[in-house]
Structures are given as structure tokens and as C-alpha cells.
């Protein structure tokens, strides 16, 4: 039977990891468990549940810094930031909602968010979750306390282990305290929508917009048949697929840049503008990948050079028969397949041919047992990854198997 251990303090957390190490009992580490199906199943009889390790250590809006325990819910954090008109600049979407139906908005914990390094549309301008992690405190697989970074914006003191921890899926250490950079919300937001049904033209349009001086903070393409699911009437009214480009900042600047973008891309198609609330609703839907949310159908995420996005998306749609959507100006492509076959070789071959990487974000467990969820490293990188894992968690007690064969035993690669 699976036993759940729920520490409420860092000391209890250390004690739990120490026990697991001493008795060689692997742990499945979860926050609220909202992303359990992202990645491979963990072979462990004990669950280390961090959802009781909660609380705000400090929040100093003027210093743009927030420090919390790892189990603190994102719902609580978003409410706290929103109250001071601030936000996580990397605007993570409702990923749990994408994975499974019936999960409330902003489910999940800050620990889970950082451990999987999830970022939304603004990533193309401000970077990923990892770029906003200022510091952490954790217990490694050696049951030792360790920390890195701090609470200041600019810090090159020692190796940047914060980067290592972000996206490591709990396989190096269990973070208990997380310190984040937060940012004020912009005064104004507007989105230019341009009618465009052709995927490759859409890719080129986004490339042109990103190469202009209009400081586009998000760029996506939504196919005609998916626009309705975003729930924004003005977008639906266009009656075609749309290229969406967001600008944010002071009011006069936003108006000026919208105008410039509409002129720049006048040859692509008719354009419309979304202001404030509509613009926010639109990008929340893009961040949440609403057209493919709800847990139905196999879902891939392909990430590569932005300018190749149109070509990659067109080829994926063409060769798999699936539905596609582009974010990050083409650097991120969502592919939802119609049938039960993951078509992993086909998807990965297309991705790799454009120097991109494919991750199987959503699939039933039996498929995840057969198909690598994450992109496999080449041998030299896999060896380094494996050594890092062994040095931080020599007995392999933290989330064994979660990131699958990406982290192979040294020498196997």
C-alpha cells in the first residue's frame, strides 16, 4: 500500500528524506499532485506530499521579491500578487487543467511549477520560470540541507544551482523554500489580431513582428477551428485563423506600437485589436492552451527555433493529421493527435530535423510506459546528466524514473 508522508516543516522534510535514504525506500514527490501524469510513473511505495509545507516567508512588493514554502498553492500566490498589482512575469498557465479535466484554475503548488519549469506566452520576452527563480533551499537525495542563490536580482556568487533545480522534476533535491522575482503588471495591454489561415504565413508574420522594434510580449497562432474555444468574441468575429501579437506598457506607447504592427503586417490580412480585459482573457486562454485542454487526446509540445515554427507545425499537422497551435512566436508548437497512437517516431523525427525537441505532455499511462516522454539526450550529455543525478541522489530515492531514460545510469548511455 502506498503510504503518504506529509511534512509540515523543513526539519520534518529532512527527516523523511533521511529515512528514505537509510532504508532505501524511494519517494514519489508531489505538491498537490496536479501534474502527476506529466512525465513517467514513479516506482515508489511512499509518497512525499509537500502540500502541508506552506506559508509566505516574506513578500516585499517594492523589492519585487516573494519567498514562500514550496507547498504553497499557486492560487494563494496569484491572489497575493494580484492584490499588489503584481505577477509572475513568465505567466504560467493552468497546466493541470491541460492535463486533466475537472481541475480548478491555478491548481498546483509553486514547488511543482518550478520543478517542471513551466512558462507561458511572455516567455519570449522575459524568459522562463527558471529566469525568475532567485534562490531556493532544499534537501538533497543525500538528506543534506543545501541552498543556492538568494533574494537579490543580481547574483553570481557560486554555481547557479537554481537553474539546475528548475525543471529537474524533484530528482536532485526536494525544495522546501523558493524565492521568486515578481514584477508589476503593465499599465496597459493590447493585442493585435490578424486574420491568417495559412500556418507558414503565420510563422513568417510572427517572425517579422518579433524582428520589429515594437517589443511584442507574446505571439501566437490559432487555427480557425480552435479560435472559438478561446472564448473571446472579437477573435471569433474575425472568422479565420489568427495571428495574435501582444504589446504591453504605458498607454501612449501601447497605442503607437499596435498601430505600427497593423501597418507592418497589413499584407497578411485584416486586423482587429483587443484591449485590456479582452487581451488578458485571450492570453490567459493561450497560456492555458484552452483549445486542447480538458484531458482528451494525446498532446505533444514541440519546441525549437522560432522562425522554423510555421514549417514544423505545417509538417506535423500534415503528417500526423493532428491539430496544431503555435505560441512563443513559433518556438512552441502544441500538437493534439486524434487517435490513440502517439506516433512518437514520426513526431520526433520531424522535430529533430528542425533542431527542435518533442515532449509527450499528455498521454495515458500505458503509452507513457512505452514512449519516452522527454527528448532523449545524446550520449555525452546523458552521461553528464546521470553523474549529476548520482552525485545529488546517490541511492536514487527521489522520484526514480520520473524523467525516464533521459537520465540513464552512468555507462548505459
Amino acid at each position: 500500500m502506498t503510504e503518504v508522508i506529509s511534512p509540515t516543516t523543513p526539519e520534518q522534510l529532512r527527516e523523511a528524506v533521511s529515512w528514505a535514504l537509510g532504508s532505501k525506500n524511494p519517494l514519489e514527490i508531489i505538491g498537490s499532485g496536479s501534474k502527476k501524469t506529466y512525465g513517467h510513473s514513479v516506482a515508489a511505495d511512499h509518497v512525499l506530499n509537500l502540500s502541508k509545507l506552506t506559508g509566505v516567508m516574506f513578500y516585499e512588493p517594492e523589492e519585487l521579491v516573494l519567498s514562500v514554502r514550496a507547498g504553497t498553492s499557486l492560487a494563494e500566490i496569484h491572489a497575493l500578487l494580484s492584490d499588489k498589482n503584481q505577477q509572475f512575469h513568465f505567466e504560467p498557465g493552468n497546466f493541470p487543467g491541460l492535463l486533466a479535466d475537472g481541475v480548478s484554475d491555478h491548481a498546483g503548488t509553486i514547488g511543482g511549477l518550478i520543478a517542471s519549469n513551466l512558462s507561458g506566452p511572455r516567455r519570449i520576452k522575459v524568459g522562463a520560470a527558471r529566469d525568475h527563480l532567485l534562490g531556493f533551499e532544499a534537501i538533497s537525495g543525500r538528506a543534506e540541507d543545501f541552498k543556492s542563490g538568494g533574494r537579490v536580482m543580481k547574483n553570481v556568487t557560486g554555481f547557479d544551482l537554481s537553474k539546475l533545480m528548475a525543471g529537474s522534476f524533484g530528482t536532485l533535491g526536494v525544495m522546501h523554500t523558493i524565492t521568486m522575482k515578481v514584477m508589476p503588471r503593465d499599465e496597459k495591454t493590447r493585442t493585435v489580431l490578424i486574420a491568417c489561415d495559412d500556418i507558414e504565413s503565420a510563422g513568417r508574420a510572427m517572425t517579422r513582428a518579433m524582428g520589429s522594434e515594437n517589443e511584442v510580449s507574446a505571439a501566437a497562432w490559432i487555427a480557425r477551428e480552435q479560435v472559438g474555444m478561446l472564448g473571446v468574441d472579437i477573435a471569433i468575429g474575425i472568422g479565420a485563423g489568427i495571428v495574435a501579437l501582444r504589446v504591453e506598457g504605458p498607454a501612449p506607447s501601447v497605442a503607437w506600437r499596435c498601430e505600427a504592427l497593423r501597418k507592418l503586417l497589413a499584407d497578411i490580412g485584416a486586423s482587429e485589436e483587443l484591449h485590456s480585459g479582452n487581451s488578458n482573457a485571450f492570453w490567459q486562454a493561450v497560456a492555458d492552451v484552452t483549445p486542447f485542454a480538458g484531458g482528451i487526446g494525446l498532446l505533444w509540445c514541440v519546441s525549437g527555433p522560432p522562425a522554423s515554427g510555421g514549417a514544423i507545425a505545417a509538417k506535423l499537422a500534415d503528417e500526423t493529421g493532428g491539430k496544431v497551435m503555435m505560441d512563443w512566436a513559433g518556438a512552441q508548437i502544441w500538437l493534439q493527435l486524434a487517435g490513440g497512437d502517439a506516433m512518437a517516431d514520426k513526431v520526433r523525427d520531424i522535430a529533430v530535423s528542425y533542431d527542435a525537441r518533442a515532449v509527450l505532455v499528455r498521454a495515458p499511462e500505458d503509452i507513457r510506459n512505452q514512449v519516452l516522454v522527454f527528448h532523449a539526450e545524446d550520449a555525452a550529455l546523458a552521461r553528464i546528466n546521470a553523474r549529476i543525478r548520482e552525485n545529488f541522489d546517490p541511492e536514487g530515492i527521489l522520484n526514480p524514473g520520473r524523467i525516464g531514460q533521459m537520465i540513464t545510469k552512468q555507462g548505459d548511455a
Partner: protein
């Protein structure tokens, strides 16, 4: 006094064999330097207080040669010190008597400008400014701009995770690098990242950046470039106290304005620079802010007004807005020449680099004055006020016995003060040898051991840049052992279901 690892006598005894092997690998004219007079220019980097002749210097020209050199060094257990342009301020490229210094300055080509992906691929010896020079004709630039940007190499920027005056808005090197090719000590060529945003596996790019030459030697770099803002304007704002100046900085940022540059200088720094470059700085204020707004003209004009209004509310006693590009550059000329300006009024100076939470600024400045009196040395302050990164310049005369030691002790006290108020030892210059022995002020033994375990995954024999960053190197055996005290066999007494 700084202690470096003892030279390995067996390596020194093999010097001739090593030279011969290096000449086989790098047969190019001038590729292997062995004569003392030619080794002399490599004896230090920007931290000139510490000097050591390298055993030899090798200047490879391609990744294959770097791989062969490192493979040889790995097989024969020879230590290696990587070196870029040698402008680093923390001694990260300080040579060792028994080590090969590998200079990367022959890697000086721009390989690919990919306008559509807004990415540039360069060799690591290309200068920081060289990247901007290669793309500015189409209105692009590379954002991080350390003050040494005319000379420093992008490979060195990767090693130190360099910042600059624009990092508040545009980030450090780590936020602007997309990929690297790196050779490991085993001679393997790794490619990490690329023109897209994601890698798979652990974020190796993130840890390679800022690793001070301890993990490998970077042989190719891909960075993102940005469109140059349409326009930029600057304000000079004077205050009667650093509290008021600091408060103004906090108010600007709290208002949602992230300026391209947000610099502050204290009275001694203002006077020294004004005497030197005559930028028109006011001499009767205690703190001077230089605020630069960049973006579309309509945005900049709007924000200049808002920042001006905030400054008035914060008690600014002096305010001037640049009305032309020449005037903007004049404002900057003072700040950019602050270091040489201090060099004019003091025979020697050292520059510290701590970062603090911004609201502790006034307290730290007061603390610095107390320390200044205690150590009997003058200090002038310039800082990247927006991100709390201080650059205290401690003035001394190296010809006076004991003054260097006093200056170093003063610097160490300043950094301890930074850590005490919640800050860090280095914001952008790196640890190197300069701040190595202060690492325990910030990190526990276990913190440092985990950092070293990352190092071990790349370089188990600790051949790459020994003596840097970590005050004591724990042996591989100690780092890999699981200690009995670490494990508990009792099931933990904590809530479960």
C-alpha cells in the same frame, strides 16, 4: 593571504614533454608559448594584485584542438586555467605555476547571424561589443554591456555571467545566451541549447553560465539579439541624502517603470568624475541618480515626465533631462568614467561587487562610512541602483606597506555587511580568487559541497581552474561518500495518512 593549491612537482618535471605534446596538437606559429618574457602578459587578469607566471600558454584555434589538449591534460593529470580576454576583476584567469593557461583569443569569428531567429553564433573570443558591431547595421544589438565591453570576450562573459548597466531591464548573460558548444576535460564536445528556448535534461546551459571556467571550455556561443530601442533619454536627479535617492529608486520601480539604466553615485564619486570628465554633474548633492528610459519615442517622452514627477515627490533638489543624444551621452560619460576618475585621485583602488536588497541601501552606505574610518581608507560608491548591485571603490596606495592588506580587509568587511543584510558577495564580477575565502559567509559546508558535486559531474579530477571559487576543495572521495550521520533508519515521526 591568498593560498593557491601547491604546484605539482611531477607536472613541473614533465614540462618538456607537455610542451612537446602541446606543439603536436597546436602546430600553428605562436600556438604554444613557453618563454618567460612571452608568458609575462598572461601572469594576471583584471585583478592585478595577484600575479603568477603560467607553466605554458596554449592558443588553440578550433574545438578539435581544445578537445585534444583537454584529453591530454585529463590523461596526464595536468591542471588547466581557461582564459578569455583577461579583463575579469575577480582573478578567475589567475595562472598556476603547474598549469597550462589556454587562451581562447584565436576564436575570434562571428559564425552565423540568423536574423529570423534573432540569434547570433560566435566564437568565444569575439568581444562583447563585437557582437553588437556585427548586427547594428540592421538595428540590432546584444543587450548585456559590462563596462569592459570593448575588450571583454563573450566566452569570458559566459564564465562570469556578466551584467552591465542595462541588466535591470534586459537581464544578465544567463538570460541572453541560447546555447553553447563546450569541451569537457575528457575531451568530449557537448552541444547544449541552440536557437530554440528549450533544452532537455537538466539545465546545463544555466549552470555552465557563471561557472568561472570550472566545468569546461566553451568553444562556441549562441546569443539572442534585440532590436535597438527607437530612442533613449536620460535624467540626472540630485538628492540631499542617499536615503532620498534610494527611496526614489524604489518608487520608480514600484510604479511599474523598469528603466533601461538606473545608476546612483555618492558624493565622493560625483566629485571625482566631475573633476575628470566635466559632465555637468551637480557638486552640492549627496546622491546622484542617472535614469535612462528607452523604447518608442512616445513611450520615452511619457515616462520621462512620470519619473520627473516621482523624483520631485521624493525630494529631488536637482533635475535635468537630456534634450539630445549628445547630452544623454554626456550624462553617461561621468558614470562610465567613474573608475578611471577614481584612478586619478588615488594611486590604486579595488572595486567591490556586492548586491543588497535595495531598501537597505542607506544603512549599508552608513555602515561603509564607519568601516572607512576604522580601516583609515577612503571609499567612493557607484552602483547599479535598480538591482541593488554596489560597486564601492576602495582607494589605497600599494606602495605604502600594509595598505593593500587594509584595503582587502575593508573590502571583505563591506561584503560581509552585504551578506548580513540579505545580499550576496558578487553581483556580476564573479568569485574567482578574490572573494573565494568569503564563500563561507554565505554558504554552509553542505551548500558548497553540493556545488562541488556539480563540478565533479564534469571534472572529477578537479583539473579545471583549481583554486578558484571554492575556499577548500573537498576530495572526490569525501564528496561521494554517504556519511552515517546522514541516514536515519527510524520511520520519521511526521504526519502521514
Amino acid at each position: 593571504m591568498l593560498r593557491m593549491p601547491e604546484p605539482d612537482q611531477s607536472t613541473l618535471a614533465r614540462r618538456k614533454d607537455i610542451i612537446a605534446a602541446m606543439r603536436d596538437i597546436v602546430p600553428n606559429e605562436g600556438g604554444v608559448i613557453v618563454d618567460e618574457d612571452q608568458l609575462r602578459p598572461y601572469e594576471c587578469d583584471g585583478l592585478m594584485a595577484y600575479r603568477q607566471l603560467p607553466m605554458i600558454v596554449v592558443l588553440p584555434e578550433n574545438a578539435g584542438q581544445v578537445a585534444a589538449i583537454l584529453k591530454y591534460c585529463h590523461t596526464h593529470k595536468v591542471r588547466v586555467v581557461p582564459r578569455g580576454a583577461g579583463t575579469g576583476l575577480s582573478g578567475g584567469a589567475l595562472p598556476m605555476a603547474d598549469a597550462i593557461t589556454i587562451s581562447m583569443m584565436k576564436f575570434n569569428r562571428v559564425l552565423d547571424i540568423d536574423w529570423d531567429n534573432r540569434a547570433v553564433v560566435v566564437q568565444p573570443g569575439v568581444t562583447n561589443l563585437g557582437i553588437t558591431r556585427a548586427v547594428e547595421h540592421k538595428g540590432f544589438y546584444y543587450a548585456p554591456d559590462p563596462s569592459s565591453q570593448i575588450a571583454c570576450s563573450i566566452g569570458g562573459n559566459i564564465a562570469e555571467n556578466s551584467g552591465g548597466v542595462h541588466s535591470l531591464k534586459y537581464g544578465l548573460t544567463t538570460n541572453n545566451v541560447l546555447g553553447v558548444e563546450m569541451v569537457t576535460i575528457e575531451g568530449e564536445i557537448l552541444r547544449v541549447g541552440g536557437k530554440g528556448p528549450d533544452q532537455s535534461g537538466y539545465d546545463l546551459l544555466g549552470v555552465i553560465t557563471g561557472s568561472e571556467g570550472l566545468l569546461g571550455i566553451v568553444t562556441e556561443v549562441t546569443v539572442r539579439i534585440l532590436r535597438k530601442p527607437e530612442t533613449a533619454r536620460a535624467l540626472l536627479l540630485g538628492f540631499n541624502s542617499s536615503e532620498e535617492g534610494g527611496n526614489c529608486v524604489a518608487r520608480i520601480i514600484a510604479d511599474g517603470i523598469i528603466p533601461g539604466g538606473l545608476e546612483m553615485m555618492d558624493a565622493p564619486a560625483i566629485k571625482a568624475t566631475e573633476d575628470f570628465v566635466h559632465a555637468g554633474y551637480p557638486l552640492d548633492v549627496e546622491a546622484l541618480l542617472l535614469v535612462e528610459l528607452d523604447g518608442p519615442k512616445v513611450e520615452v517622452d511619457y515616462l520621462i515626465e512620470r519619473v520627473g514627477a516621482i523624483a520631485r515627490e521624493c525630494g529631488a533638489v536637482y533635475s535635468r533631462i537630456s534634450e539630445s543624444e549628445d547630452e544623454r551621452l554626456l550624462f553617461w560619460s561621468g558614470r562610465k568614467n567613474a573608475f578611471p576618475a577614481i584612478g586619478r585621485i588615488s594611486p590604486d583602488y579595488i572595486c567591490m561587487d556586492g548586491t543588497i536588497p535595495r531598501r537597505r541601501l542607506a544603512e549599508v552606505l552608513t555602515g561603509m562610512q564607519v568601516l572607512s574610518q576604522r580601516h583609515g581608507l577612503r571609499v567612493a560608491n557607484v552602483f547599479h541602483a535598480g538591482d541593488g548591485n554596489l560597486h564601492p571603490l576602495i582607494m589605497f596606495d600599494a606602495n605604502q606597506p600594509g595598505e593593500l592588506e587594509r584595503a582587502e580587509a575593508f573590502g571583505a568587511d563591506i561584503l560581509k555587511l552585504c551578506v548580513e543584510v540579505g545580499g550576496v558577495l558578487s553581483g556580476e564580477h564573479g568569485i574567482g580568487v578574490e572573494k573565494r575565502d568569503l564563500m563561507p559567509e554565505m554558504f554552509t559546508e553542505d551548500d558548497m559541497k553540493h556545488q562541488e558535486r556539480l563540478k565533479l559531474a564534469f571534472d572529477e579530477d578537479e583539473l579545471l581552474n583549481p583554486g578558484k571559487v571554492f575556499p577548500t576543495l573537498h576530495g572526490c572521495g569525501e564528496l561521494k561518500t554517504l556519511h552515517a550521520r546522514e541516514v536515519a533508519d527510524k520511520f520519521p515521526d511526521i504526519p502521514r495518512f
